[in-house]
Structure formats: C-alpha cells, structure tokens
C-alpha cells in the first residue's frame, strides 16, 4: 500500500531530515520525493510504501502532523488512491 505525504509551507533547514527520520522509525520506505515552489509556497511531495509499516496509520499521521506544527508547516499523509481516483481514469 502506498501513501502520499505532502509538506506545504515556508522552506527551511531540516524538513526532509525530520520527516524521513520519523518514516524510518516506523519502517516506512520512501519511493520518490519531489519538491517545487508553487505560488511562493514550498511544496514537497513524497511517495511512500507503507506495506510494512509497524505503527497504525493514525499514529504515523499524528506524528507527521506534530513535526509539521513544530516547523510551522502543514504535513499530511493520505492514501495515494484519493489522488489516483480523482485525476486518473
């Protein structure tokens, strides 16, 4: 099962480090990372594999949100199907 993590906010040092540490702790594998600046907002998108994740989805989601709060960023994890369903036929 794959999920998409989106990080939106102001760019700063340590965003990727913070998030990838948490992912590693939960045994989540990062498959792809892309980052852009859209309308002056830093956006990072990570595709991750959560098949072997060893914490409940909810816990990981809360952990990521916490990191986001501490860095004044919005960090969300969502099942990739919501994007595939909406944008791919």
């Amino acid at each position: 099962m794959r999920a998409v993590i989106t990080v939106i906010g102001k760019d700063k040092v340590g965003i990727i480090a913070g998030i990838s540490n948490t992912l590693a702790d939960s045994n989540v594998n990062i498959l792809d990372i892309s980052q852009t600046t859209m309308q002056d907002v830093f956006t990072m998108i990570m595709l991750v594999d959560i098949t072997n994740m060893d914490v409940p989805f909810e816990t990981l989601s809360e952990e990521l949100e916490k990191i986001g709060l501490s860095m004044q960023l919005s960090v969300k994890i969502q099942h990739e199907d919501i994007f595939n369903t909406m944008h791919r036929i």
Binding site: V4, I82, F83, T85
Partner: protein, 452 residues
C-alpha cells in the same frame, strides 16, 4: 506518478473549498422485523440496526483519516416504518421512533431516516397510524427523520394525504415551538420519492433494495464556485465544461469512499448521489455559484436558467465518475442551509415563488423554507400540492420541507443550529387555498406523451 499540481489541487479542494463527503448512509432492511407484538418488533429493530451498523461510524472515521477527506455525517436509513409496524395492533407508533432514536444513539450516527409512509395512491391502516404519530415522534426524538410520499407520476397526487400533511406539519411545529418548530426540519413530503436517497431528512431504505447497502452523498459547492472563478467572462460552453470537470472529480472521491466503505463493512455498494449539497459555512453555497455566473443576487431573473445549467452539468460530469448513480442527484437549494440563499432572501431578491420555479430544474424542492407561524394548514397543503404537481408532471422528485415557525413573522430569523442553519421567515401568498384543498380525493396520473 501523480503530478504535484494534481496533488495540490486535491488538497486545496479539501482544505480551502470545503470539498467533503457529506454522508455515508447505511440502508438497512427491516422487513424481517415485523411482529404482531409491537414490543417484539421493536426489539428486533433495535437488535438489527445495532448489529448491522456497529462498525459504521468507526469505518467512516478510519477512511476519513487514511484518505484525508472529511466525512461529515454517518447515517442510517431503514425500511419505511409504516410497513413494519402495521403488523402490530398498536395505534401509536411513537415508540417505534423512540426505538430508532435509541439505536441511532447506540451506534453513534447523527440521523436515522425511515419513519416514513408511502401513500401516493392511498393509505393502509399502518400508513394512517404512522402519519398521525409523526408530530409526537419528531418532537420526542432527536435523530429520527420522517418522510411521506404523497404523489407519483404513475399514481397521481393523493390530495387527501396532502391536506392531512398540512395539519401534521402545523402540529409538529407547535409541539416544538420553543425551538422554532424544529420537528418540521426533520419531515419531508415527497413526490416521486427515490428509494435510495442517502440524504436526510428524506432518506429511507426502499422495499426494492437489498438487505443492507452503503450509499454516499458528495458535496462541494465551494469547489465548483472556485473553479468558475477561474473562467470569469467565459461563455456558457466554458462554464458548463468547467462544472462538468469539477463534478467529475468530486464524484470520483464519492465513488472511492463508497467502494471502500462497502468493502470494509462487508455490505453491497448502493449508489453515489451526485447532489451539490450546501452548508451554512462560508464558501459552501449553491447560491454563490449562481452569482458567480453573473447574477447580482440569487433569485433575480436568470436564476432558473443558471440553476438548470448547473444541475445538468453536475449530472453529466458525475455520471461517468461513478458506476452507480442514484438518490436525488442534483443541486440542493435549502434556504436555511445556504449562506447565499439566506442573504438573497434577506435582501429581497429571492421569494418563495422564485424558489418554486427553481425547483422545476433541480433537485429537490422547497427545502428548509421557514414561513410565518400563523400560516394555515391549508396554505401549507397548497404549497405541497404545487410542488407535487411539478414533480409528477415533470417526472422528477420534488419535496417540501417547510417550517411554520410558531410566533414568528416575515423578517424574523429562526435559528436551528448545526447543518440546519438559520432560516429567514418568508412571505406566503395572502390569498386562501382552503376550498381547493377541502375537495380531497386524488388528482389523476398525468399523460406522459403529447408533451408541451
């Protein structure tokens, strides 16, 4: 891989434009809960609902978290209670409503629909008893919703039932006078009622439905308005295309959630209802979409055309996005639940007559209309008759959810709270319809050819 701008678009639609799943509704058949003993029947009803819907709320919440899409309501619809209760010898069906209320409370849903009767051609004894129990049932319960189907294109219009509903609505309002007549906000009078509607207050589980189904109602007026803002000045082809594309995306989410919920709960997938359902929240208004098309205020000349375009484009976009579409599927125009509609009424742009015209081209009818408390039962019945005629002649669903707010008059605002919002009291025609309603009987089914 999915493109970053697509991911951002989805997130924006959810976070900024109020895109959400309005409701996951579990339809449960109660046809095996009939019993000559009312008590036994109610025990069966309670047990069945609490067993079937045990995991409904939890599953909804899990999906919400995993996909990051808000699911606002989890609800239940059941077989019309008149059909179940009439096997018992009881006269009063209020206890059935209380059982539904308790079951809804136990599983944590916010509404349960199906305290209903289908009387478009005539009454059975159970239908009569149920209708008589509606005012008490709705004033003594919190979560129970009731509906009565009084007309259909095939059967015509049951004017006796319409006349009676005028009195039932008045009585329900009086019994809940201290809260603005809120019982009436949980009561819908239908023509051509759909059997698979997931939206309240008119949801019930039709007799042609399977044992248990999951249906989903989507929302997203904010997302449509926001998409239209990007094509300001474009012609109607562009407007229509933009709405279709947005409706497609919105409905795809509905389809995903419906499939996922039905798989996790182990019940069959019913339908996705394509309705654009507004809420009182800012940026979630159908009226504002119409205004975005170029109308100064919703309700002015051109509103019916704008709504017709919107409704049609939403359906065209949505139909391809879901494998099964049903329910009401169209734009809702509930006055008290739509910030733009409320404003339009208060500014004098939107009248009851214009709303009636608008219901000819959209779902679902005169919805959440507050009228003065001294409006007569006959006038209310006549409003219902007009709306039923529109539905019957045009082969579509129409409905009336009207609240004669006790002690209130034109210009007052009645606060219902939550999703029901706040309704400005609207003016009705001062001339009487009493003699018309008094005739009683049935208006025959209409001719469906030679259409003009």
């Amino acid at each position: 891989m999915i493109k970053p701008f697509e991911i951002i678009e989805t997130i924006k639609m959810i976070q900024e434009e109020n895109l959400d799943i309005r409701t996951i509704t579990m339809g449960i058949s109660l046809r095996d809960c009939c019993d000559s003993s009312g008590k036994k029947s109610r025990d069966k009803i309670y047990d069945k609902i609490t067993k079937q819907a045990k995991n409904l709320v939890k599953t909804g919440e899990d999906i919400e978290k995993e996909y990051g899409i808000p699911i606002i309501n989890k609800r239940i619809s059941v077989t019309p209670i008149s059909i179940i209760a009439e096997s018992s010898d009881e006269e009063d069906y209020v206890k059935y409503a209380q059982t539904l209320d308790r079951a809804a409370e136990a599983v944590g849903v916010n509404f349960i629909g199906g305290f209903s009767a289908l009387v478009h051609k005539g009454y059975t004894s159970g239908d009569k008893r149920l209708i008589n129990s509606i005012p008490e049932a709705l004033s003594q319960t919190k979560k129970v919703c009731s509906s009565v189907n009084v007309a259909s294109t095939k059967a015509g219009i049951n004017m006796n039932a319409i006349s009676e509903m005028g009195h039932i609505i008045k009585k329900a309002a009086l019994l809940t006078a201290e809260s603005g007549g809120i019982a009436c906000a949980k009561l819908v009078v239908f023509a051509n009622a759909p059997e698979d509607n997931p939206f309240m207050a008119g949801a019930f589980h039709g007799v042609g439905e399977s044992e248990c189904v999951i249906s989903v109602g989507v929302s997203g007026p904010g997302a449509v308005k926001s998409a239209l803002e990007k094509v300001r000045g474009g012609d109607f082809e562009m407007v229509s295309e933009t709405i279709k594309k947005t409706a497609f995306k919105i409905t795809r989410i509905g389809q995903l959630v419906a499939r996922e919920a039905s798989a996790r709960l182990g019940v069959s997938f019913g339908i996705v209802d394509l309705s654009l359902a507004p809420t009182p929240a800012i940026g979630d208004s159908v009226a504002h979409i119409l205004e975005e098309m170029g109308l100064e205020k919703c309700g002015t000349h051109g509103t019916t055309a704008a709504l017709a375009l919107l409704n049609d484009a939403v359906k065209k976009g949505g139909v391809m996005a879901s494998s099964f579409v049903g329910g009401l599927s169209g734009a809702f125009i509930p006055v008290s639940e739509d910030a733009g509609m409320i404003d339009a009424v208060q500014k004098g742009a939107l009248s009851l007559d214009k709303l009636e015209a608008m219901t000819c081209v959209c779902s679902v009818g005169l919805d959440m209309i507050v009228v003065p408390g001294n409006t007569s039962a006959e006038t209310i019945a006549a409003v219902i008759a007009d709306e039923a005629a529109i539905g019957v002649i045009n082969n579509k669903t129409t409905a009336v959810r009207i609240i004669p707010a006790p002690g209130k008059d034109v210009g007052d605002i009645v606060e219902f709270g939550g999703l029901l919002g706040q309704g400005p009291v609207m003016k009705t025609n001062p001339f009487k319809s009493g003699e018309f309603i008094k005739r009683g009987g049935r208006i025959p089914a209409p001719l469906c050819s030679l259409r003009n």
